[in-house]
Structures are given as structure tokens and as C-alpha cells.
Amino acid sequence: MDLYKLTAHELLDLLKEKKTSADQIAQSYAQRIGKVDPQVKAYVRVRPRDDKAASGPFPLPIAIKDNICIRDNETTCCSKILAGFKPPYNATVIDRLSRAGVPVLGNTNMDEFAFGSSTENSCFGPSRNPWNKECVVGGSSGGSAAAVAADEAVWALGSDTGGSIRQPASFCGVVGVKPTYGRVSRYGLIAFASSLDQIGPITKDVTDAAILLGLIAGYDDRDSTSVDHPVPDYTQALGKDVKGLTVGVPKEFFIDGLDPEVKAAMDEALNVLKKKGAIVKNISLPHSDYAVATYYILATAEASSNLARYDGVRYGLRQIPAKANRTSIIDMFEETRRVGFGAEAKRRIMLGTYCLSAGYYDAYYLRAQKVRTLIKQDFEKAFKECDAVITPTSPTTAFKAGEKTSDPLAMYLSDVYTISMNMAGIPAISIPCGFSKAKLPIGLQIITKAFDEEMMFRIAFNYEQAAGWHKEKAPLT
């Protein structure tokens, strides 16, 4: 039996019946990675096997995005500026996984500092979409999504600041969850935009996502934005039907640029939910058209501040200018940052610095914070009349490698359906809802109110079981 093809809950069942062992599972994944990763390039680092790590109740190997700190294990955000950096501590999610006995397979590829929507901004080069190697994996958690889609991990963690879990999950045909802001500790997640970042699961099906979120969620006093809210058993929510639930479909998401094949898959998915007894209602999120502009001001402003720490003083890269005979510390800062950051990182730091600089702060940053309030209020109104909002995850399927690399704005606009939820701080899941004629996966997004991940999983599971798309496997040999 090919163990690597199974989901976490299927493996847990086999373990319970003593039909497999932690050792066999670990072996199966090591072989699988050896076989397909040279084609997919999901991992930037594979860890040596540690049998002690798999001694808990969940010996199900996981892939970790390269921006989540693992003690004494190189963690670089796929940036030259952190080459060789070995964090002296674990992220809280890593401690939690370790307590559950989940072994870490390795670190996955990503856009440098999570800046991107295609994983083409990695200093290690891009990953390849398991469904079509000419296409991007999405981003920024592209390596994590590709690893799960290619059966190179049971499950994975990513981080989502504006869609970085959901969009690659959609492009790779797997499940991706951005939890409520404050649900999962950000301690040890290398910061991009601190008011938006959240760690979440990428899995083969909805049940696995519910299990994994349960393992990583919960209050942590080392993250001052962690919320002390009880963590339910998310798998309990899966058994409930959707009869009488109202799902809202925002008209603003069905606009120019939405691929007709994606729209058709959405319509079909809504029919499936209707047949299961859900009520589909047309709603409006009137400020949706302003989301991308708002996000790219707020996220880059926060990023420019967060990335000020990479200056060559303490850790990571230090670059001294070649020509100078005497070097000042400012020369060192400027040269380290010139050499260490890639083009997109520089672009975002520059944009963020501009938006925060004297004379422009009110016009850009403060105004964007106010529009953020409007976007958040749109959702508050929507959740007065529906239990969940449903949209496509991305307006298109995975685009061709290189297609958007020379046009930053076109790349930013590919996040149009996922960024509002980060600004509103609410949870959202992307699940497979079909394929294009070219056999590329299409993703459906289900959004609920803050701390109502149970409703999100419930609707997602009902759809998944009725539609069955999660059973399709990428054509890798």
C-alpha cells in the first residue's frame, strides 16, 4: 500500500488498527520526496529523520513553510539575507506539533518573506505545480501547497497575510485554511505584516484541516495578539448538515477578470450546497473593489517596519561594501540590504517606507486604515444575514510561470478575492471545487465570522463529501 497517498485521518485509523507504524509512514514519505521533489521542488531543505519526534499520538510527518522558526534548524524565509540563520527557539506551533508527536519533514519553498503570489520570488527558484509543471504553484506558501498536492507530506503549515495559504491551495488542488486573527500564535512566525499574518493548515481534505487546526490553535502568552478563546474539537463540526444555513454570494466578486471556467465551477458548487438544503443568497460587500489598494498600503507599511531588523548587525547576512577603505555602520546596513533582499522585497520596503514617510502618512497609511474599517464593516453586515460567505478563491486557475513576474501590479491583483478576510481578521478556507478543461484545479472559498471556524469546516465538509474533488491526485510519476 502506498501510505503517502493517504490522508492524516486515514493514517490515524490504520495506526489505531495497528495496520501500519510511524516508521512505515516516515519511510513512505522519505521515498516519495526522493522520487518526486526533484520535479516539484516543494522543499528547500529536508531534515534528517528523527524517530524520537514521531513518538506521540500523531506520527504524521508535516512540511513547514520556511518562515516558521524551528530551533537550530536553518530558517530563511527563502531570502539571502537570512542565509544560514538557525533560530535559537521554536515557534509556538512547532512546540505544539512536537508535543503531539508530529515529525517535521523539512522546510518548504515560498516567496521571499512571503512577498508574492507565485513562489517565483524565492531565492531558491520557483516550485513547479504538480498538476502542470509549466504553471506556478501560487504563493506565497507555494511549497507547502505543492508538497501536499504531490503527496510529499501528510500535511503542511503555511502562513497567510493576504491569501498566501488559500491561493496556493486553490492552485494546487488542496485544502488551505486561514484561521481567525489571534486563533493561532504568531510567536516564531517571521513577521511580514503583523496585523494580518496568521499561520494555518494546508491538507489533503477538510477533516485533516480540522484536526491540524485543533493541534496548533490556542492561547499563547508569548504572542500579545493571541486571543484566549476556547479551542473546540473542530472535527465535531463536520458531522452537522447544512440544511437551512444561509450562504451569501457577494456580487462584487463576479466581475471582469473572473475566468468563466472558475465561475461555472462556483455555480455548480452552489447547486451542490442548495441540494443539501442550504439557502443561497445574493449579497453585497460594497468596498471589495478597494481591498487590493488598501492591502498593498497597509501590508507594505508594516513590512517595511518589520524588515528594518535585517541590517547585518546581529544575525543573517552582513555585507561590507567592497570599495570603502573605512566602513561606517550605515554603509554596512545599506550594502547588506542591497545584497540580501530580492527585487520584490525591495519594492515592498520602498512602497511601505514611502506610505509611512512624513507628508504622505495621512494620505496613504491613515486613509488605508480607515478603508480597512469599511471593509471590516461590510463583513459584519453580511454576517447579520448569512452564516457564511462563498466566493472563488482566485479569479483564475494557476497561471503560467513567468507570466506576471514583470508586472507587479498584475501579480498583486491575483490576490483580489483573498485579502479582504485578512483585513477583517476573519477565517476562510479554500477547498477544491473542480478542474478547468486544461485539468488545473479550481478553488472555492468559504468565509465565516471571527472564531466561527466550526461553521466554516461544517459547510466545507458537506460540500467536499458531496462533490468528491479531494480524491483527485496530481498526475506525477
Binding site: 535559537p88 525591495k346 517606507t353 514611502y354 488605508a368 480607515k370 507587479p408
Partner: protein, 98 residues
């Protein structure tokens, strides 16, 4: 496009604020890219936000305090393990004061 929102001189100033050396070519590309992005984000001017409060974060939290007690933390030697250059238990850098 109408008036320029950002000039090469602005880009030079921001690069200095952000402590990034830019090559001439990078400066040109960034001027062009930032100009495009700023034109796009200018759509926010269409909205009346005069009566809207800003949102800085969305977590239902305020005044996160803890007891003022010493708790386990990284030791000096653990923290210095990642140092690029160190001397006498400190991170060592090029000369700061002339």
C-alpha cells in the same frame, strides 16, 4: 497617466530612509513600478472616510499585560550563537562614532 506621483529624487530619498543601496537601474525600475502602484492605490481617494475611524488591528484585545516577573528567556550565549561577529559577549559592528 497624469502628473507624476513620484520622482527619481523621491526614490533616492526613500531608499536612504529604508537603508537600501540602489543601483541606477534599480532606481529607474522602482520609480516606474512605484508610480504605477501609487496611481492604482489613488482610487482610495474616491471614498469619503471623514467620519470613519482607522483600524490598526482586529483582535478583540486591549492592554495586554502580564505580571512583572522574570521568566526563562534566551541566555546571552544562546543569543550570540547566531551572531555574525561578536566580542566580549556583545554583537560586534563597524565603527559607529567618528
Amino acid at each position: 497617466m497624469g502628473k507624476h506621483l513620484i520622482t527619481p529624487k523621491d526614490v533616492e530619498t526613500i531608499a536612504h530612509l529604508a537603508r537600501i543601496n540602489l543601483t541606477e537601474k534599480e532606481g529607474e525600475t522602482l520609480t516606474h513600478d512605484l508610480e504605477n502602484i501609487l496611481h492604482y492605490v489613488a482610487k482610495l481617494e474616491q471614498l469619503d472616510v471623514s467620519r470613519t475611524d482607522p483600524t490598526t488591528h482586529v483582535a478583540p484585545l486591549k492592554n495586554v499585560f502580564r505580571k512583572d516577573e522574570v521568566r526563562p528567556s534566551l541566555s546571552q550565549s544562546e543569543a550570540l550563537k547566531v551572531a555574525v561577529s561578536q566580542q566580549n559577549g556583545s554583537f560586534k559592528v563597524p565603527q559607529v562614532i567618528e
